[in-house]
């Protein structure tokens, strides 16, 4: 039984001064200020450590209106040199920026290693049992949210998945990867970006490769809802899926295809998905149960390169659902919550729901459960890429078919 708040609250373990506002991990109390620094720093460190986002690159952020992807958008705003405000001067440096500081570069310019973000929202009201009015309302709320960021955005309906080209079922032509001689290495790209900044003076000039093609936030005509006929056809596909598990998988597949196609159509080379640590751990065990053990690394890792020309990254995979929820609450990150995927009456829960219930339940008594699952997953790495002509790929998930005998 938990006692009520008392007059002597706990202190932050980091600064030793602030009143603790939440407990992070297993028993670390943090005050709001230190929590914010911790949160923002983790995002920068994630990008810096992985070194896959190049300066000036077009990155499409997949936004669901949920907690994690909304927090992700806010972090991109912070990293893009947005306001910073009172926090700008206090934010700790990420290690990868230190060498640039030694070259006598200003802290501000070094921090402004920006990429060019766009946003995409997939409206799924049809399969979440929303009425047309509710769908319109959700769309309106999301459009307001997306417009407020100032980034270009795209609103699409899940029904549009019915019109995807067959090319979505194959990896796109690989762009030059980091080891190719025609493309600079990460360090070279960053060096030349910083040089450019110096020449232009540290006054935040336009980024290399920044086109005016995607007009920022002048809204495209708000898309109306799709035809009832299209909605019906979509619902028929979902009904045909048979089990709750199959429906969840179908939804995720169609959504991913739509997002990747949007990226491809609009020249984005990267997609950021907002899967949290909690979600990744659940996905890991769920996918294992679904027979996808061979592909855990690509399904849950930081990078997912199966689409070839469009790389999917998961920058929120180091944040627990709790950290994200508290961050959003404390720092006013807006969200738009929608009902879950429809389930039929008296239908057995999906494997996804069962695993979620299992992990969250276990976590109550054993608070390192989820992080342990996550950390085990971290040890998995994708198989070294085989030439795509050698191995056959699954049409639906684009992973190499697991057909070679081989040793266990």
């Amino acid at each position: 039984d938990r006692p009520c708040p008392r007059s002597h609250p706990r202190t932050c373990m980091k600064c030793g001064q602030g009143t603790a506002a939440l407990v992070i991990r297993v028993g670390d109390p943090f005050c709001r200020g230190c929590f914010r620094e911790y949160f923002v720093h983790k995002f920068r460190a994630m990008l810096g450590k992985n070194r896959v986002i190049f300066p000036g690159e077009k990155v499409l952020l997949a936004v669901s209106g949920g907690q994690a992807s909304s927090a992700m958008v806010r972090q991109v705003q912070e990293v893009s040199g947005g306001s910073g405000g009172a926090w700008g001067a206090r934010s700790p440096l990420t290690p990868h920026l230190t060498p640039f500081l030694c070259q006598g570069l200003s802290r501000e310019a070094a921090k402004r290693l920006r990429f060019v973000p766009g946003l995409v929202y997939v409206e799924e009201g049809a399969v979440r049992r929303q009425s047309p009015e509710q769908r319109e309302q959700t769309l309106a709320q999301m459009e307001t949210l997306l417009q407020a960021t100032g980034f270009p955005y795209h609103l699409i309906h899940l029904e549009e998945a019915l019109e995807l080209p067959p090319s979505i079922l194959q990896p796109g032509p690989e762009r030059a990867n980091t080891s190719s001689p025609s493309r600079p290495s990460y360090k070279e790209a960053v060096d030349s970006f910083i040089q450019q900044q110096r020449q232009d003076g540290d006054s935040g000039t336009s980024l290399p490769g920044h086109s005016t093609q995607d007009k920022p936030a002048g809204p495209p005509a708000t898309p109306r809802l799709p035809d009832a006929a299209q909605t019906q056809e979509l619902l028929r596909s979902f009904e045909a899926a048979g089990t709750a598990t199959a429906r969840e998988e179908l939804l995720e597949m169609l959504r991913t295809h739509l997002i990747v196609q949007t990226a491809r159509d609009r020249g984005y080379s990267k997609v950021m998905m907002g899967e949290s640590l909690t979600r990744v751990a659940i996905k890991l065990l769920t996918n294992l149960s679904l027979g996808r053990g061979a592909f855990l690394a690509v399904d849950t890792g930081f990078t997912d390169q199966r689409h070839g020309d469009v790389m999917v990254v998961r920058p929120m995979r180091d944040y627990t659902a709790k950290e994200i929820a508290f961050y959003n609450l404390f720092f006013g990150v807006p969200t738009v919550i929608v009902p879950p995927l429809f389930t039929k009456r008296r239908e057995k829960p999906s494997i996804h729901q069962l695993v979620e219930r299992f992990l969250l339940g276990l976590q109550e008594e054993f608070p390192s459960t989820i992080s342990t699952v996550y950390r085990t997953g971290e040890k998995l790495s994708p198989e070294p890429a085989k030439a795509s002509s050698e191995s056959q790929r699954c049409l639906l998930c684009l992973c190499g078919l697991d057909i070679d005998g081989g040793e266990w």
């Binding site: 006692p3 009520c4 603790a20 969250l360």
Partner: protein, 79 residues
């Protein structure tokens, strides 16, 4: 220790879906001999505010695993 009067409950992040979509609930709790501790508060919420699917909100006498609780904007795990 007891709380004698509680003014506001907020349900967010999807929890509001179980409360008719209403995020803010301002209530006056009835006088009763039992203390208004968290256990009794939750019971009262379940009986008087919760509109559907109690199994998604509560598990036994506590909230369902995964639901976060804040008291006066602070993590209840601090207490």
């Amino acid at each position: 220790s007891k709380i004698s009067v509680v003014h506001c409950f907020y349900f967010r992040g999807g929890a509001e879906l179980l409360f008719d979509g209403v995020k803010k609930h301002q209530v006056t709790l009835p006088c009763q001999p039992e203390p208004w501790d968290i256990r009794n508060l939750l019971k009262w919420i379940k009986q008087n505010l919760l509109k559907e699917r109690p199994e998604l909100f509560m598990q036994g006498e506590s909230v369902r695993p995964g639901i976060l609780v804040l008291i006066n904007e602070a993590d209840w795990e601090l207490m």
